[in-house]
């Protein structure tokens, strides 16, 4: 086990080098991810025409939420880890990995971290530029960001997104093509995760239902924690739900891995 853990920095380093080889791809990805913020700004400006608040949000508060979502996405969203894992299973590339004395989950975790670091490196400039430009047009409430509650929620979000991605990808042991499944979950993450609008704009019963699902803890919870819009008790409960869901998906991934390996047929070298 110690030897396995000692190998992780090397896996991380290789993953980082591999990801940075495609830095233009990452830069483009980061630049494009700022586009929804721009669209939100234009749209919500029109919604707020002649109104001070929508729900409990001012225009600046709402745009701060969307801006913070960019940070959450940069820190915690997997890039194409799901498709990489799926390819490794489908094309028999697992063979060489299985021979290594390293648990697959830890191996993928190190690569996920490397991917996030590479993405963060490429995203820093576009996100900072986006914040700067937006703050000139709208008084963003960035000074009041609550990092003490935000950082644990960000870590929880990364863990939850990684574990959910792992579960989805491992379905490749049984299905030839999982892209439809992945995009279906993306759509749920966008709607029920608070990516399209803050979940507290939903009617109360729907908001309550959304907070039971794991998706709310991928985007809305860390973003709202950073914005400081969640009361202390609700934050503690939310963090419990977030890590609870992450733990559940990690256990599910371990189960899927074991069951999948029994079905996996290694072919070729």
């Amino acid at each position: 086990m110690t030897a396995s853990l000692a190998a992780l920095p090397t896996v991380f380093s290789i993953g980082l080098q591999r990801q940075l080889a495609y830095r233009w791809n990452y830069l483009l990805r980061a630049l494009f991810s700022a586009m929804p913020l721009l669209v939100s700004w234009v749209f919500w400006k029109a919604v707020f025409q002649g109104k001070e608040t929508v729900g409990s949000y001012t225009l600046a508060g709402l745009l701060t939420y969307y801006a913070v979502l960019l940070v959450v996405e940069a820190v915690s969203s997997p890039a194409d880890d799901d498709f990489q894992i799926s390819r490794e299973i489908r094309e028999g590339m697992l063979n060489s990995i299985l021979l290594r004395p390293l648990p697959y989950g830890l191996y993928r975790g190190a690569l996920f971290l490397a991917g996030r670091c590479a993405y963060l490196t490429a995203a820093v400039l576009p996100v900072a530029l986006c914040f700067f430009l937006l703050s000139r047009a709208v008084p963003l409430e960035l000074h009041s960001l609550d990092w003490i509650h935000g950082i644990p929620a960000l870590i929880g979000s990364a863990l939850l997104q990684f574990s959910l991605t792992l579960c989805l990808s491992l379905v490749s042991f049984w299905l030839l093509d999982i892209s439809a499944l992945i995009f279906l979950v993306y759509s749920l993450e966008f709607l029920a995760g608070g990516h399209v609008f803050p979940l507290d704009l939903l009617p109360a019963p729907l908001f309550t239902a959304a907070r039971i699902l794991p998706f709310a803890y991928e985007y809305w919870f860390p973003a709202a924690s950073l914005c400081g819009t969640i009361p202390r008790d609700a934050w503690r409960a939310g963090l419990g739900m977030q890590f609870g869901w992450a733990g559940f998906f990690l256990l599910l991934a371990a189960f899927l891995w074991k069951a999948g390996l029994r079905k996996y047929t290694a072919a070729g070298g």
Partner: protein, 265 residues
């Protein structure tokens, strides 16, 4: 000499081949119908949430906004069915040197790249979008006249051309950037602009997305034609800008093609 008639015949043959390939994976077909439908529901849910708090956005009522969103979905799904599947394969073709096989064929390479694949699933979603749009028009007590319907169809074609221009331009980046898979994310990100009511945009944003990349016109002009009747000046502006964008992206594609180096020789 390749004539438009030959290209049409070639396209129909490619469509037949792609359709039989698609129907070999029926489960995948239904899965993608559900996925695309989920994204459409997501857009409608967003409209529902926003209009819980306001009566109108930039002069568009809830039902009018649904016509706008449905029109955007209709155009996007038709594009996703016929042209997008081929275009998104370009980065892989370039990276692996398989573009050689396309270049060797006696037909325009841009045409072959654009029409090589087909997805049938999005057509089902295009039909659903059309039904949602019709229902919203019914709620608005609007019965479109024949001229406005014909104009709508022409504008939908112009919308398709605009989608095509943007994605062709983006995937052509692959001639300069080795791994250009992010361009698809770029396409989806940039095309969010098309769902905005045109009147919501002001300043440089409006100028950029009206005159340079006419995304603000893609769904707005057809939807407004159905709701408010024919608007000749806006229609003309849209047709001119979408043609310019298509020519510009075609030029960019051919510029990139000159940089292409076969990976196999």
């Amino acid at each position: 000499m390749v004539t438009p008639f030959h290209l049409l015949r070639l396209w129909l043959i490619q469509l037949r081949y792609a359709a039989s390939r698609e129907l070999a994976f029926r489960a995948n077909f239904f899965a993608w119908v559900v996925v695309e439908l989920a994204w459409f529901v997501l857009q409608l849910a967003f409209v529902g949430v926003v209009y819980q708090h306001v009566e109108s956005v930039a002069g568009w009522s809830r039902q009018e906004m649904i016509v706008l969103v449905a029109t955007n979905q209709l155009i996007q799904q038709i594009f996703t069915a016929f042209l997008m599947p081929g275009l998104v394969k370009l980065p892989e073709l370039v990276r692996e040197g398989k573009l050689d096989f396309v270049l060797l064929k006696p037909a325009p390479s841009q045409f072959l790249v654009s029409t090589s694949h087909l997805e049938i699933g999005p057509l089902a979603n295009a039909a659903i979008a059309a039904v949602v749009g019709i229902l919203a028009l019914h709620d608005l007590h609007i019965t479109p006249t024949l001229p406005s319907l014909l104009a709508y169809l022409l504008l939908v074609l112009a919308g398709l051309l605009t989608h095509y221009a943007l994605l062709l331009g983006l995937v052509s980046l692959t001639f300069w950037i080795i791994q250009a898979e992010s361009v698809l994310l770029g396409y989806y990100s940039i095309f969010q602009v098309a769902r905005l009511p045109r009147e919501a945009a002001t300043g440089w944003f409006r100028i950029l997305f009206t005159l340079v990349l006419p995304l603000l016109l893609v769904a707005n002009i057809p939807a407004a034609t159905l709701i408010r009747g024919l608007q000749p000046s806006s229609m003309l502006l849209f047709l001119v800008t979408c043609l310019s964008a298509a020519l510009g992206s075609s030029f960019f594609f051919h510029l990139g093609l000159r940089r292409y180096q076969s990976a196999s020789s």
